[in-house]
């Protein structure tokens, strides 16, 4: 526990620096850094900061926290370092819902986000329902299999909608949504998401030590925990609810839920008591960093999902190949 706690401190410091620094990054009035003189001199700069940048920064950080936390929850409960919340059809459902919103339901913001949220949840519900119908394998296998099937189903639906989309108007919007992005985020978006995500994150945070328990094999868990299914369900629901809320606003942003828990584990070991808070910070940091680049590097927005995959994959490779970057164990 000791060494893990020490590692958390520099992460916290870097995160705070990034949070503060992001406020000064943007494209108005000029690309990249906004100077104090700009802020003092131009009221539009202040408005940009308060109404465009700050809600977006908060949203990016929150989304990163949620994706990392639910990735951790899923990996520990499914005892598999290669899963994230998307596995139970949540992100596939959200993508399908958003495509439906853009191509069929008129393309208004509420249609897109509402349909995304609705189908994210149906993805989970369907996976659960199908899993209860499978007759072989343990519950982990059943859930994973049905999750994969449901995700595939939604993917083909999304593919169909892409094919039918108007190449002038809808297809670009759809493609952009599928690649993920935080453009157009307003305070009301951020507050809506916070209302759902913060309680869920709190639940996951409070139960973080129990995650260690739930990653053991079923028999052992049974001998130690009075109502394991209930705890598991609570954690999974919290993870999925938060992820759905985030994904319907941000589009599909991959890799965060997969990689950040790994990075946290390499830094601090596998004890979720330490790893979860570190995942939260790293996830928030990572997504905020990527989003800052997405809105600042070019005058056009770079889809967030592209950056998270690119940077995430790169970091992951570096991590895997660097022998020194591992917690020293006696």
């Amino acid at each position: 526990m000791g060494s893990g706690k020490i590692k958390m401190f520099p992460v916290l410091v870097f995160t705070l620096i990034l949070l503060l620094g992001s406020v000064f990054l943007g494209r108005y009035p000029s690309p990249f850094v906004t100077r104090f003189s700009d802020i003092m001199g131009d009221s539009l700069v202040r408005q940009v900061i308060l109404d465009i940048r700050i809600p977006r920064i908060i949203m990016a950080f929150m989304a990163g926290m949620v994706l990392a936390a639910s990735g951790t929850v899923f990996q520990m409960i499914f005892r598999n370092p290669l899963v994230d919340a998307g596995f139970l059809g949540v992100s596939g459902g959200a993508a399908f819902g958003a495509s439906l919103g853009i191509v069929i339901l008129g393309g208004s913001i509420s249609a897109i986000q509402g349909a995304a949220a609705l189908f994210a949840f149906s993805g989970l519900g369907l996976s659960w329902f199908i899993a209860t119908r499978i007759r072989f394998g343990d519950w982990v296998l059943r859930l994973l299999l049905s999750g994969i099937a449901v995700s595939a189903m939604f993917a083909s639906g999304t593919g169909l909608l892409k094919y039918l989309a108007d190449p002038l108007r809808e297809l670009p919007e759809l493609t952009f949504w599928l690649l993920g992005g935080l453009w157009g985020i307003t305070w009301s978006d951020t507050l809506q998401v916070a209302a759902v995500c913060l309680p869920c994150l709190l639940v996951i945070y409070l139960f973080r030590w129990r995650l260690n328990l739930l990653s053991m094999q079923d028999e052992t868990i049974f001998s130690l925990v009075a109502n394991a299914s209930l705890e598991r369900l609570l954690l999974l629901l919290a993870a999925v609810l938060a992820t759905s809320a985030v994904v319907c606003k941000t589009g599909q942003v991959g890799w965060v839920g997969l990689i950040v828990p790994h990075m946290a584990r390499r830094l601090c070991g596998s004890d979720a008591q330490t790893t979860l808070p570190v995942s939260l910070l790293l996830g928030g940091f990572f997504l905020l960093f990527c989003d800052d680049m997405s809105r600042t590097l070019l005058s056009g927005e770079i889809p967030l999902g592209i950056l998270t995959s690119f940077i995430g994959a790169g970091l992951f490779l570096a991590l895997l190949m660097n022998r020194q970057f591992a917690l020293k164990r006696g």
Binding site: Y28, D51, I52, V103, I104, S108, I109, W183, S299
Partner: protein, 365 residues
């Protein structure tokens, strides 16, 4: 008062009225249903959003645009050859990369942003929060298009010009209606608008959706669009195949060929194809290539009226052919497409004949 003094008085009054007209608040409702009130006419316009060429081509119908347009989003790296003709100095304007964020748009300091959409987009919302008004242009139906022109006229302070433009469109539409409107629906020739697409070497045939301009053009031009009953998708091109085309067996086929293919080659190929030769339209030599100059006449840009006129003429060649009833016309055609094209670009864009003949005459068969 003497006559001259009366005249001077009237002139002064009308001058003051017109001045006060431009200084009174301008109010309108845009294509997304959003109301706008302008106390001062905007001086810095920026165009962003889907298919920027459509609002840009509409803006350039007004001469005020040259000065007031300060920047626009570019979706493809190639410059718009048509706009280069209309405004040789367009390359001096600021461009934004595809999908700009609100900050990038704000950096151009616009006082009005124009975007093509019938719903409020995320960008519109963010810009509104920053206090930058966004005018939505719809251009999805002829009526919407004319309303958009009216709005643009108001916003640019030149309602005289927008009225002139609207009159032009309405005259042309009346001409078509007059010549084609009398037939009962069952007697109208069956027409098919077909998009011939060779994306990634996979051939596809598509028909336009119900709400689309191409469908409207077919309806306006007096034809009976044969594909409307089978449309299942509200929006977008619907995929179809040769078998369905044969089942419809329309009287006229209007083929839209993606600009990367050689349109005439494609048409020649189809005329030589044994399958297609079985179709009524091909046998009667009524498979026509939809004309395009730099832009196709089937798009929602201002040249859609040319497309509708052309389709009307192809659908009813005898009604738009040589004018036999008017002796003064001396056998000239009621609708001479070449003349119409020149008139269109001259009246609407102020281009002179030499330029039109060099760059903007379509590829006829």
């Amino acid at each position: 008062m003497t006559l001259i003094r009366k005249l001077i008085f009237l002139l002064l009054v009308s001058g003051m009225v017109s001045v006060s007209n431009t200084s009174a608040a301008v109010s309108l409702t845009d294509a997304a249903g959003k109301p706008h009130v302008f106390d001062r006419l905007p001086e810095r316009l920026v165009v962003v959003g889907a298919a920027p060429f459509i609002p840009l081509h509409m803006l350039y119908l007004f001469e005020e645009t040259k000065d007031r347009l300060k920047g626009f989003e570019v979706k493809v790296k190639k410059s718009d050859e048509f706009l280069d003709l209309v405004d040789p100095e367009i390359s001096l304007k600021q461009t934004l990369d595809s999908n700009p964020g609100p900050e990038s748009v704000a950096a151009l300091k616009p006082d009005l942003v124009i975007t093509k959409s019938t719903v409020e987009t995320g960008l519109s919302r963010s810009l509104k929060i920053l206090g930058i008004p966004v005018l939505h242009v719809g251009a999805e139906t002829p009526d919407m298009f004319l309303k958009d022109l009216e709005n643009l006229g108001k916003v640019l302070g030149n309602t005289k010009r927008s009225e002139e433009l609207i009159r032009y469109y309405q005259d042309k539409l009346s001409l078509i209606r007059e010549k084609t409107g009398s037939l009962a629906p069952g007697k109208k020739p069956g027409v098919l608008v077909l998009e011939y697409n060779n994306r990634g070497n996979i051939l596809s045939l598509n028909v336009p959706a119900m709400g689309w301009f191409q469908t409207r053009q077919a309806l306006i031009s007096g034809g009976n669009p044969v594909w409307l009953d089978s449309l299942t998708v509200r929006d977008g091109w619907q995929i179809t195949g040769f078998e369905q085309v044969a089942a419809w067996n329309p009287d006229k086929i209007f083929l839209i060929v993606w600009y990367q293919l050689q349109g005439l080659e494609v048409v020649k190929g189809l005329y030589g194809d044994s399958k297609w030769r079985m179709l009524k339209a091909v046998q009667k030599k009524d498979l026509h290539l939809f004309p395009q100059d730099i832009y196709g006449w089937d798009s929602a840009s201002p040249r859609w009226i040319l497309g509708a006129l052309w389709m009307a003429k192809m659908t009813y060649p005898d009604r738009f052919g040589p004018n036999t009833s008017d002796p003064a016309a001396s056998g000239r055609e009621i609708l001479d497409m070449n003349q119409t094209v020149k008139e269109f670009y001259r009246v609407l864009y102020g281009l002179d004949e030499a330029i039109i003949e060099k760059h903007l005459m379509p590829v006829w068969e």
